[in-house]
């Protein structure tokens, strides 16, 4: 369970969001500029809140007294433009988080192969990131975030970088992948169609506030 209750003064408005996300996907819908990315960055620890707390599975990630830096939070994140490392190939990208955890090389390679196969991109492992299509990049980004077995998963508009034709197909694939992910997952988007794909839990964000939740 991911419990958020934070406030931060932004340039255009006061961000004050409260949200509880249990295991599984929670879609957070909102127009652009509503604070969606800020929400994820706060959870990931890339940005500090002015007040409030973020608790994940009972562990305090941030509150008045504590601030756990992002590299110790074990929160996986898929960025809007995927943020794949251009100087590393696909396998090295996916292995990156395991390297951070000092996983031994052979074990690392095995885990990478497993996740690539699971996401059906095993044949891309030696490719350079620049040669991949949008849909392929998204899967690499997902693999990279999943392989570290994060305690929570954050997806920042994972489909918006794709062209409309690819989007629908990838959305379905994404859903089947996320069905097997058993941690609190926040899927942030401005696209209503995404909301339809994940009807289980939806929240609406506007001007930095969570205005409606539904399950």
């Amino acid at each position: 369970m991911l419990v958020i209750d934070v406030a931060k003064k932004l340039r255009d408005f006061e961000f004050a969001a409260a949200l509880e996300a249990p295991r599984g996907v929670t879609v957070v819908v909102g127009p652009s500029g509503s604070g969606k990315s800020t929400l994820l960055r706060l959870i990931a620890g890339l940005v500090r809140a002015d007040a409030g707390s973020i608790v994940l599975d009972g562990r305090v990630l941030a509150d008045e007294r504590t601030f756990v830096p992002p590299y110790l939070r074990n929160v996986g994140m898929v960025f809007q433009e995927y943020a794949l490392f251009p100087h590393l190939d696909v396998a090295a990208n996916v292995a990156y988080g395991l390297r951070a955890r000092n996983v031994h090389a052979t074990e690392r390679d095995a885990q990478v192969r497993r996740i690539l196969d699971r996401l059906e991109i095993g044949d891309l492992s030696a490719q350079r990131v620049g040669e991949l299509s949008g849909g392929q990049r998204q899967r690499v980004a997902l693999a990279r975030a999943l392989v570290i077995e994060p305690a929570a998963l954050l997806l920042d508009e994972p489909l918006s970088a794709l062209d409309p034709l690819t989007r629908a197909r990838v959305r379905d694939e994404l859903r089947s992948i996320l069905d097997n992910v058993d941690v609190p997952t926040l899927f942030v988007t401005h696209d209503q169609s995404d909301r339809a794909a994940f009807p289980a839990r939806v929240a609406r964000i506007e001007q930095g506030r969570i205005v409606a939740e539904a399950s």
Binding site: F79, A83, P86, H87, Y96, G97, R99, A100
Partner: protein, 255 residues
Amino acid sequence: MIRAATIVASLLLLAFIAVPLAGLFVHLSPAQIAAGLASPVARTALRISLVTTLISLALTLALGTPLAYVLARGDFRGRSVVDAVVDLPIVVPPAVAGLALLLVFGRFGLLGPPLRAIGIELSFTTAAVVMAQIFVASPFYVRAARSGFLAVDRDLEAASATLGMGPLRTFAFVTVPLAAPALLGGAVLCWARALGEFGATIMFAGNLEGISQTLPLAIYLNLENGDISIAIAISVLMIVVSLATILVVRRYERA
């Protein structure tokens, strides 16, 4: 017609740069150049230049890299002032730089007495040569490094953090490899500028064979050694070294 004018203009400038450089090579025979380079004056100056410029480069990399990173990522009051200060030595005449160093670190300079109290006297030392070089040359590296870091997408560093790499490891595994061409280019420029430094060196460090006489000083002071063969020989050496470094850097940048 415009094209003709363009070609003429380009050739003029190119020739202006190339001909004097080539002229140095034809003035002496290869045997004379070798003899000039083998002279004790040249060998000593070469040693001083190599040692000092490498130390200057090392210190610049060590201190300039964090500074460049702070300037690229930091968002603090007065950052533009710091930027301007770092750029100043590029514009300030080297003699002014030398005088400034003398007035601060010289014996009766601002910091002279306190330094002397702890047993440090800097003027007329090889350390002073290094200081003069760092002063005039480090901005070249810092500027290039700053550009390089600015060009690294911050989301990449953020992704690295979320994947579990701490700030230092993120810097080493993501930022530096991606900024590497800029860092390398900046380092080479810095080293080249340090190698050619004259005005600040002679003002602050003085001129003494084996202590502070670098290659440029040796050229200038040996211009009237009967013939000028030693000066030309050293000049030829410096041109060859510069050309070699440019070629190496270009090759790396393309990779």
